[in-house]
């Protein structure tokens, strides 16, 4: 099945710093989403981005589907950005478009 690899696995930032999280996937996808799991366990959908670029405040994401990767940018990080960031995809061929395969996540800690 499709493989989803996220890097780095852990990231520690000083408040105000910028960061880039990467998601590589092993096959063509028709669904890609980024999620943030906060320290209380809540999973929040950040972006639905199977291709192209989107921005939402200090966060932006870019997916280059032909090269099978997606990037999540966090600018001017805040302590509330801490948590685990997950990339999830659904393969283009086979399976269901809605059934997402999750990467192992990037754990982000933002220090004040």
């Amino acid at each position: 099945g499709i493989q989803v690899e996220q890097s780095p696995p852990d990231l520690i930032l000083q408040e105000g710093a910028n960061s880039t999280l990467r998601c590589n996937f092993s096959d063509s996808v028709n669904n890609l989403q980024w999620f943030h799991q906060n320290p209380w366990g809540q999973l929040i959908n950040l972006f639905y981005i199977p291709s192209g670029t989107k921005q939402n405040g200090r966060l932006s994401a870019t997916t280059v589907a032909t090269e099978r990767y997606s990037l999540l940018y966090i600018s001017s990080s805040q302590t509330t950005d801490s948590g685990v960031y997950f990339c999830a995809v659904a393969p283009f061929y086979g399976g269901s478009q809605g059934n997402l395969i999750f990467g192992k996540g990037t754990k982000l800690s933002v220090k004040p």
Binding site: G41, L43, I44, N45, Y48, Q97, G98
Partner: protein
């Protein structure tokens, strides 16, 4: 007004028991899901369900069964609970299956502990 609500939030039970977790969504979404998050934070799909189709992850033991009384509800029943079933279970919903999907909304999770 919670979009996807799960109950209970915490569940502690003994091995061998049967338990249920309830999930309701008020978003009008077509599809609902159950995911399991293990102790290493890995999320894995268990089921997806819409009005027409139940898709079961083949690795899920048949002790787990989803039950959907209507489009807004997808409950998870677990029989003969085992220690390895301890995890956080997330319900989610999305609009679209087989057409454009605009993203998941997750519930807040149910932490199941089997003792």
């Amino acid at each position: 007004d919670t979009a996807v609500s799960q109950t209970p939030k915490y569940l502690v039970t003994q091995m061998g028991n049967d338990k249920s977790i309830k999930c309701e969504q008020n978003l009008g979404h077509d599809t609902m899901y159950w995911y399991k998050q293990d102790s290493k934070k890995f999320l894995k799909i268990m089921f997806s369900y819409n009005n027409k189709e139940l898709i079961i992850n083949e690795t899920v033991p048949n002790r787990f069964s989803p039950k959907s009384p209507d489009k807004a509800h997808l409950n998870l029943h677990i029989n003969s609970l085992e220690l390895g079933d301890s995890a956080v279970y997330f319900c989610a919903s999305s609009q679209g299956q087989g057409r454009v999907d605009y993203g998941y909304t997750f519930g807040s999770g149910t932490r199941l502990t089997v003792v």
